[in-house]
Symmetry: D3
Subunit: 324 residues, 6 copies
Amino acid sequence: MPHPVTLFTGQWTDLKLNVLAEKARAFGFDGLELACAGDHFDVAKAKNRKYCRSRVQMLEEFGLKLWAISNHSAGQAVCDIIDLRHKSILPPRIWGDGDPEGIRKRAIKDMKLTADAATNLGIDTVVGFTGSPIWHLFYSYPSNNPRDIDKGYANFARKWTPIMKYFDAVGVRFALEVHPTEIAYDIVTAERALKALKGRESFGFNFDPSHLFWQGIDPVNFIETFPERIFHVHMKDVMMRKDGRRSILGSHLDFGNPKRGWDFTTVGRGSVNFDAIIRALNHIGYKGPLSVEWEDADMNREQGAKEACDFVRRIDFEPSKSLR
Amino acid sequence: MPHPVTLFTGQWTDLKLNVLAEKARAFGFDGLELACAGDHFDVAKAKNRKYCRSRVQMLEEFGLKLWAISNHSAGQAVCDIIDLRHKSILPPRIWGDGDPEGIRKRAIKDMKLTADAATNLGIDTVVGFTGSPIWHLFYSYPSNNPRDIDKGYANFARKWTPIMKYFDAVGVRFALEVHPTEIAYDIVTAERALKALKGRESFGFNFDPSHLFWQGIDPVNFIETFPERIFHVHMKDVMMRKDGRRSILGSHLDFGNPKRGWDFTTVGRGSVNFDAIIRALNHIGYKGPLSVEWEDADMNREQGAKEACDFVRRIDFEPSKSLR
Amino acid sequence: MPHPVTLFTGQWTDLKLNVLAEKARAFGFDGLELACAGDHFDVAKAKNRKYCRSRVQMLEEFGLKLWAISNHSAGQAVCDIIDLRHKSILPPRIWGDGDPEGIRKRAIKDMKLTADAATNLGIDTVVGFTGSPIWHLFYSYPSNNPRDIDKGYANFARKWTPIMKYFDAVGVRFALEVHPTEIAYDIVTAERALKALKGRESFGFNFDPSHLFWQGIDPVNFIETFPERIFHVHMKDVMMRKDGRRSILGSHLDFGNPKRGWDFTTVGRGSVNFDAIIRALNHIGYKGPLSVEWEDADMNREQGAKEACDFVRRIDFEPSKSLR
Amino acid sequence: MPHPVTLFTGQWTDLKLNVLAEKARAFGFDGLELACAGDHFDVAKAKNRKYCRSRVQMLEEFGLKLWAISNHSAGQAVCDIIDLRHKSILPPRIWGDGDPEGIRKRAIKDMKLTADAATNLGIDTVVGFTGSPIWHLFYSYPSNNPRDIDKGYANFARKWTPIMKYFDAVGVRFALEVHPTEIAYDIVTAERALKALKGRESFGFNFDPSHLFWQGIDPVNFIETFPERIFHVHMKDVMMRKDGRRSILGSHLDFGNPKRGWDFTTVGRGSVNFDAIIRALNHIGYKGPLSVEWEDADMNREQGAKEACDFVRRIDFEPSKSLR
Amino acid sequence: MPHPVTLFTGQWTDLKLNVLAEKARAFGFDGLELACAGDHFDVAKAKNRKYCRSRVQMLEEFGLKLWAISNHSAGQAVCDIIDLRHKSILPPRIWGDGDPEGIRKRAIKDMKLTADAATNLGIDTVVGFTGSPIWHLFYSYPSNNPRDIDKGYANFARKWTPIMKYFDAVGVRFALEVHPTEIAYDIVTAERALKALKGRESFGFNFDPSHLFWQGIDPVNFIETFPERIFHVHMKDVMMRKDGRRSILGSHLDFGNPKRGWDFTTVGRGSVNFDAIIRALNHIGYKGPLSVEWEDADMNREQGAKEACDFVRRIDFEPSKSLR
Amino acid sequence: MPHPVTLFTGQWTDLKLNVLAEKARAFGFDGLELACAGDHFDVAKAKNRKYCRSRVQMLEEFGLKLWAISNHSAGQAVCDIIDLRHKSILPPRIWGDGDPEGIRKRAIKDMKLTADAATNLGIDTVVGFTGSPIWHLFYSYPSNNPRDIDKGYANFARKWTPIMKYFDAVGVRFALEVHPTEIAYDIVTAERALKALKGRESFGFNFDPSHLFWQGIDPVNFIETFPERIFHVHMKDVMMRKDGRRSILGSHLDFGNPKRGWDFTTVGRGSVNFDAIIRALNHIGYKGPLSVEWEDADMNREQGAKEACDFVRRIDFEPSKSLR
């Protein structure tokens, strides 16, 4: 069986969930990856089984299923050095008075609740971010003290170990979206994050090739390096504009600015080799959803989502018997 | 006439200047680009003409000349968000009690003194860094408010305009080394920095291709975009290790770690096309020094410096009559 | 809204317009870009409003619209050094007795009439060629006197300024198809042509990526350099056969000869990145038609035209709200 | 034995031959390829054996030898459509009153005299151009009538057959420098030119990789295609500036303008693989000189010539026994 | 007319022919290329016209046609050095007691019978392998004696000349699938094999780009080199995994192992340029079938076959009139 | 300290050792890697300490040192399927009557004696080949039974374990030159060979980048994969001739034939990145010799050896302190 194709709802939180669900079905998706934002899913009600059941039922009304939920923003606040930008991504119940340590505590609690939500929704995967206390040190000038990098990973382990214990207790896995600004953003740092958590089995990755490719990483290499840790998959593409003038670093320009050296695109329009990714996922036995995270600053959102769904169906394939 | 070839002394401050000067002469250099560090040049004595004269005389004893001095660390403190890493690069007279605003004031004063030093040394070019209040926002998650980027440039302009006015008053130019962690690190940001300073003519660039190349920028493009602003030139090379596993972002690994996606090398051993750079510099009429900034974590320093000097002499050439 | 998709009729003048219109509709096109040739459009009748209206009506009968007309051959005769090859592309009313100066005068008149035709057809864009008095000097041996190149542009300006004044008077724009054999065939020469006409706003370009790509030019660069001047767009592709044996210059071989180093293809089968072109067109706010100029010497014409129409519809997309 | 290394004097006709000879020896060359221009060699005196002997003796005084002489400009006039540019490259005795047919006759006579010169100089190779009656038709718009191309080759054969008969009679070979603007400029046209002359054995090529490489041709392919026809070799390099903005066609810009898509360089500084060329020349048994045609608009001429001589000596090598 | 699209049945011999025929029709194929294996075609009954007719009729029942049959395994045994691996590919009637010379005789007879089968099936093309007595010498250590290679080709000629005489007698062509392990596996060896058979016209090739591409050969080159010898075409694709770790030689790993440097894929998913192949086939006037040989170790067989059929129909096109 | 540079004598066995030693010294080498062939070293005398001492003394007379000896041919006979080609590489004392099992026994004995020789020469490294019982199965048609590959490795382990026990007993390491035709020829097979020998520590590799590069393997990857197993290093280069016509497999053509897809070259003239190799060797702490194995079928041997020695000295460098 090919993989189910889902739509991540994080880019659609301006729409009510029922409105989006109807559209998603019409676009051709099999399910949604619910973002914990807007009215899509309210983490504050995670322990309310009836609420959780109602979310699932609403999806079922539209013929959609659920395999994972996502909470990127609360996870981000767990390890980040908090600044005003976080206010725009956090719900008031986490931001509160804006005191960093209070935010951090509430964010940790929110992540635990997200695990509860998964349980009550009948699923076992939470996708999200971890934040990073050392991301801003990515270029070493003034020179980084290597021990500060070590401390960053220790700090991450201190913050996330209790969360992961809770996940273990309720039987839910956490899938970090490997991504710049996070504790893991490439193969080396993903290895180091796993090591910091002593290889805890419930901590794995949401594989999103778009964040790896522009760094020069072959996404297939990531899958081959972490075959046991691919808990969830985002289908997002990236286009390179390497012309000798544009910088790979983005020039402090927003996504969508054509002067950037790269940008996200509707899956299938960029440079990522998705056929190779499907093969690698089949080789490691990944059976979960292929979740379209639609981001393409140039394109009409609805045309893009439908096109992405069609593309994923076309490029995905049922593995040969020996791989099933 | 080909260009003079100098050695930047920033990587050699563990040696007394006279020791280094003797070596540099033996390596084959025409002069030194003095770093304001170690005993190479003491900015605190910038107004002491006798001291300044003594520095020039020492170089002359070894048959060396001076075209520029550099003060990267004080410049860095002008716009950076100060943290403990700065303590390791700043002299105690600037770091003081570590209070950021005090540091900033003293750093600004230091830069003005560096301009005085240039005057007293009989030269007109100071190379250095500016720092950046927004470098840490290079990836936009949580999303940058574009106005925060605008404010960063405004902040830069506020801090550096008084410094540049002082430079103008004493007839000295400032050459920012375009570099990640600085207000300008690529073509787009260099344009924006110039605009922030309203195109002030005494603010230009220390062109160093190594910082541009790994970002995917053709260094020749930089020269062609800013023909009037190339005030000084660093000769440094970079090797790429793009193998689909290593990240262009460096993986929070130190220079010299072979798992990095790129690293600096002795000029001539990397991937930068220096023949094209010499041609472009001749086309814009650059007559200043080609200053070797030797950084190659794998290599013996003295072998490297000599090899670099030889390479630069071999690749440089006298322009045709029509370009002289 | 995505762009309308039209078919340029220049490769179909062996068919009566009504026959072609029926086919074009069946292929899926929204309209035609009428060539001033065959019975498609007779410039001699440009001032006859009834004739012009009848052309529009015929298109409407087939559900087709008109956004632009084209007159390549008369334009070519305006600046070219006339030889016998021109006889085969010019109608007798322009060729006349073959005297170059007479031809030139009649060609100029024809271009003015084409502007009248546009007015009477209710459109504001004429696509065409300019010819070039210096094309044959493209390689400088015996060495070109640079002043002869200057004179060529002056000559062009002298011939085309009166035509463009007429265009201005009747409110019609001229879109030069940037193309080898024309006064502008790349970015540098397009800049120079604009300068020769002192930046006259009604003179712009018919962007056709196929003519740029084989020269090594990224078509997106052309759009970014002339955002205000893209008046019309041809969708034509080109395949490269760079194998170390075939020359980029074509070896004096006809199109369709597989020994050539490159050849035109049905859009979507060559090497041009049309996704990037659509993005760039949307960024500059281009709302006009995407006009398929079908040329593929290897392929059945009708299969090709249909395939091209399908491809353009698939690759085109509605821009995001911020770009509309 | 490695090949002798000579300097083509065409770029140095502003210097008296004795002045140049002294320099060439100091640069390290083994001999000169005399251009029939300036005082280097006067074709009008070709039948004067004493004059010819005196030229050879002058070279010998400086320890230099002669393997070939060149007459590009007269050859060019044989087939070209004459225009004013030719006045600048032709001596008055050929240009005369500027009447094309008179020029052509005198040019043909000059080429025959050049063969006599070779005989009297004790050598058997004349390098030169042929001109081309069809070069200006290189892009087919208005469409070329293929028969016009055929006629161009027939015309070439008509003009050059009598010249070649004369060459045969005096036992001298003609080496056409395959070059844009000539009857042969790539592999296809070189084959066609040979066919037009019915494979006459005394007509071959002066192999110059720089003219082939920018067309996308691998120069080694040329050698492998015409192993019996490589009569002489020019060592000239070319740098590509393919950045998506510059055109391969040169944009009607002079050599030396950095906006061009490519330019000639001192041998060893461009992109041509000369190691592969030496191997291919050894494989076909070429024993003649490697003649540096120094053209590099950016560089001091004397530095360039010396550097080129050094490079050629370094890259050339003695073939293995089995190839000798 | 585009080409008919067939399915080679060699990968489906586990299915009865009628079962496969029904599927193939549903996938969209026009016909089958019958493998002489399973119940698809029994060479032992080749002279039985009724049997042969019944095979054709069965295809016709499902709306399928026949253009060629294939006998790879018997052909392989003609020239190979026989070992136990051959037992698994040969039918008992050929393997017999396993004595190499007996096998060889029976294999030769089988190939002649296959020609008879073609005649009785009303077709003129047999596809197959030849085997090779020298394949194991492909790397020369211990050094090959060049005469041993010569002998290998002589041996091949000795074995295959009688077979080809029989083919000539019954009016059938043999199409060797150029492939590693065969006497011809690239352009050079294909030329040598033809020469060994003195250019016999009934000996040509089954063109399969997948076997050429991973060797670094452009498949179009093969077609252009042997325009008269392309008797049949396989559509099979290959993906490269060149990452600096995987070897092009396959590392003694089975197909389907992701550590291999390359592998076969469903046509359209690999790196072969099939548009260029269709053009080249049209240029040489190939009118035969495009036969999908489906091999993709990662993929469900039925999904793959259907996808391949769709792809071939989409990429194939009717040639322009001048090529028909 | 940079590495010593030695010359492998295997390509010079036509010269007496004293003649070669004098040349090698003149070329600039620090030592020789003696081949067990010609009069360079006679394994039959391995236990004769006086003979061994005399070899070392002869080298010392010419100022040369010894770090390793090589015995490729005897090693090859240990695992290979013997055929007549082996007669040309084996000394009569091993070939004997040509009976494979006898040859194998004598070859095994010879390898043990070579270990004795090393001891008596005062060195600890023997370079050589292993042969391979499965090399001829490199392409799987008729399909390989994976167990036959397994058996091949088991066979290798059975043959080489006793030899390696002997090496261990006398304290000598064996460095297999990873090479097509051997049990290990790429990264995957090298891993498998080590596993077959259960990771025996005295079995490692003679790293020769030329054999890896043409297979598409980045030689640096090999070093990084086996940091503990690089016992010796050959400096040999390879040139690629990928032009879409030549096959990577060599077309059964001898080295030196320009129709091959690749060939060996004097180090520095091919495509291998030796700067990167030096860095990687320094990173793993390799202190042994860089041994030039000169093979370049196009070039004069003595010119090549000298050029190679100069190149290796230039590219090698003393590591930085942190790596020493």
